[in-house]
């Protein structure tokens, strides 16, 4: 007892820095955001220095269209990881929605109907995951590996080895066109609208605060009267729906659909979300950080594509960033807890 009383104030005095910004900078989350900014700045400087066409508006448009569909999935993945779950089937759902789209169009249906069917199938995939995870009680990490194989298997079964190019014109416009005569792609507007909505939900709506509670302590959230199962179910439905939207946008942007759509996208999505400071155990993190990570990853991907790095090299880099995203924030937090 005496030891603690003597040590308490002394340690506190040591831990309190003189200035306000030092307190802020010692916060592990702020520190991680700072590291992310530094990483982004380094990538940007290297990219501008080595690639002459990097700072053109055409390239800015390309960055937006090439990463926009990933960004949409990142936003919903942030919610999934916030409530302590994981969804590895986003890439497969994306591919399946594109496959359903072309199959329905081939069957003679109009484009808008095909898009509606594809989005419903994607939301249905999410509902299947959500039902199995929250109502049947299967751990999400194993279930979504299974549904990853299931959905991408159905995608391959539907498409075979063929490639389909007859996509509706409006979808292609949606995928690649800019707003009016500016250089901002429509996809980026969709991402921004979704992000603003997500910020509002997580900050002001009860369901958003519930996500944090569920991620922090699921049993406590249940005891406090939060409908844990229902919330987790709808989070997975939204994740499926967003993957479907991403699949349609991607199909429109590429203007062709084959069985490789969406392969390995989940890695990029999860890496981006973790780099954005969403805690890998759930319950902690902000949309702002995810948006920052989206920008950094978009620039990085564009840089790697411009330098003609193969996709496997890209996944090596992204895999390492994923591990950094798991380890980095935890290490900083560990350091902070040791200092105070």
């Amino acid at each position: 007892m005496i030891d603690i009383e003597e040590e308490g104030p002394a340690r506190q005095k040591n831990a309190v820095p003189e200035r306000k910004w030092m307190i802020k900078a010692a916060d592990p989350e702020v520190m991680w955001d700072g590291l992310l900014v530094v990483l982004g700045a380094i990538i940007l400087i290297v990219a501008v220095a080595t690639t002459s066409s990097f700072l053109s508006t055409i390239n800015a448009t390309l960055i937006g269209t090439n990463f926009g569909y990933v960004a949409i999935m990142c936003l919903s993945m942030a919610c999934v990881i916030l409530c302590g779950e994981i969804d590895l089937s986003v890439g497969a759902t994306m591919g399946l929605s594109a496959a359903v789209l072309v199959r329905v169009i081939q069957a003679g249906a109009p484009g808008w109907l095909a898009a509606v069917v594809a989005l419903s199938v994607a939301a249905g995939c999410g509902a299947f995951n959500g039902f199995m995870i929250s109502y049947v009680g299967v751990p999400s990490l194993v279930l979504t590996i299974g549904s990853l194989a299931l959905f991408s298997g159905i995608q391959q079964g539907l498409l075979g080895s063929g490639s389909f190019v007859n996509l509706p014109g409006w979808l292609q416009t949606l995928g690649v066109a800019n707003i009016g005569s500016t250089w901002v792609p429509i996809v980026v507007v969709i991402v921004v609208v979704e992000a603003v909505g997500l910020v509002a939900v997580l900050r002001w709506l009860r369901v958003g605060r519930d996500l944090y509670s569920i991620g922090c302590n699921r049993v406590a959230a249940y005891r406090a009267g939060i409908r844990v199962n229902r919330t987790v179910f709808w989070v997975f439905v939204v994740s499926g729906l967003n993957s479907g939207i991403a699949g349609l946008l991607y199909a429109g942007a590429i203007a062709s659909v084959d069985a490789t759509v969406g392969v390995n996208i989940e890695l990029l999505v999860i890496a981006t979300v973790l780099l954005g400071g969403i805690d890998s155990f759930g319950g902690r993190g902000r949309v702002g950080g995810v948006l920052g990570a989206i920008v950094v990853m978009a620039v990085l991907t564009d840089f790697m594509v411009l330098h003609e790095m193969t996709t496997t090299w890209q996944s090596l880099v992204v895999g390492m960033l994923l591990i950094c995203g798991v380890i980095g924030p935890a290490a900083l937090r560990h350091r902070a807890s040791r200092l105070t």
Partner: protein
Amino acid sequence: MPIGRSEIARRVATLLRRNVREFVLLVVILVLSLLTALKSSAFLSASNLQGIGLAAGMTFLVGLGEASVIVTRNIDASIGSMTGLVAYISADVMSHHPGLGIGGIALIGLSLGAILGSVNGYMVARRGFPSILVTLGTLYVYVGALYTIAGAKEIVTTSFPSSYQSAATGLFGQVPLICWYSLVLGLAVHGFLRYTRRGRYWLAVGSNPNASRILALRPASTVFTSYVFSGMCCGIVGVLWGAVYPTVDASAGSTVLLGVLAAVLVGGVSIWGGQGSVPGIALGAILLALLESSLIVLGVSPFWESAVQGGVIVVAISLKRETITALQRRGRSLRGRQKMRGTSTPAATS
């Protein structure tokens, strides 16, 4: 003491009840083989059965390692890339130094697998990071390393000394050697998990990590060892890869994860940890290998194979006893709530 007829019936009933999953799997395997054999007489030929045995043996060997991780309530998503990396490197070493022999290559492959596995084990067991995220990251790092080393090269293994090929595909009593290796390793793991103290602790760590820490069963070192063992199992299969397939390139092992996970889960290894049997894994591996060849015979396009594997995983985990009791408990609690409103209900969370 003579055993009466009723006594035998009772014992058989107990055996059936305790090993329901194994018997159901056996019935499914028999029905599937029967259907396939009726459709095509070539199914029952020795070479086809030996091919199924080879595939099942490889799935089983990797599956033992994956199961040892899953019973500790973790997961190893990087098995495919570890297998591929070891397969390419050992074939590469073999092509440059054919004098090393199968023993030297096996040593290299095993130690490489152990190193790759210990990276996973360090981050999961010692640092406490979520196993799925760590192994997903290393999955792509290892695949990236494999592509960096291999590029577009392809190693033709048919020119290797015949002692190398026969190490895997050689026959001993009409059965491929890889099945005998599986039998030996499987019996060893079975004996370890069932009859040794350390083995019982292993399962205890998975069934309740907190309690096992309080009882000083050293859960962290158990989890670490399980990842190293998983890496070594991938090392064994990686070394044998070049002997089974005529060429090894950068895509080696890319299809391993789903098949192995499906085999292990359908074989009754619980994703909640602490449960699993070696015979179950063996039957799961046989079922998956059988499915692969039956689907072709039964006229299903190979494009659907991944969907079938995914379906097997989803069905296998939904049929686990824990899942079913969770549903029953939920049903009971719902009924209870209707009867006496306001009383507390058990938390329906994991």
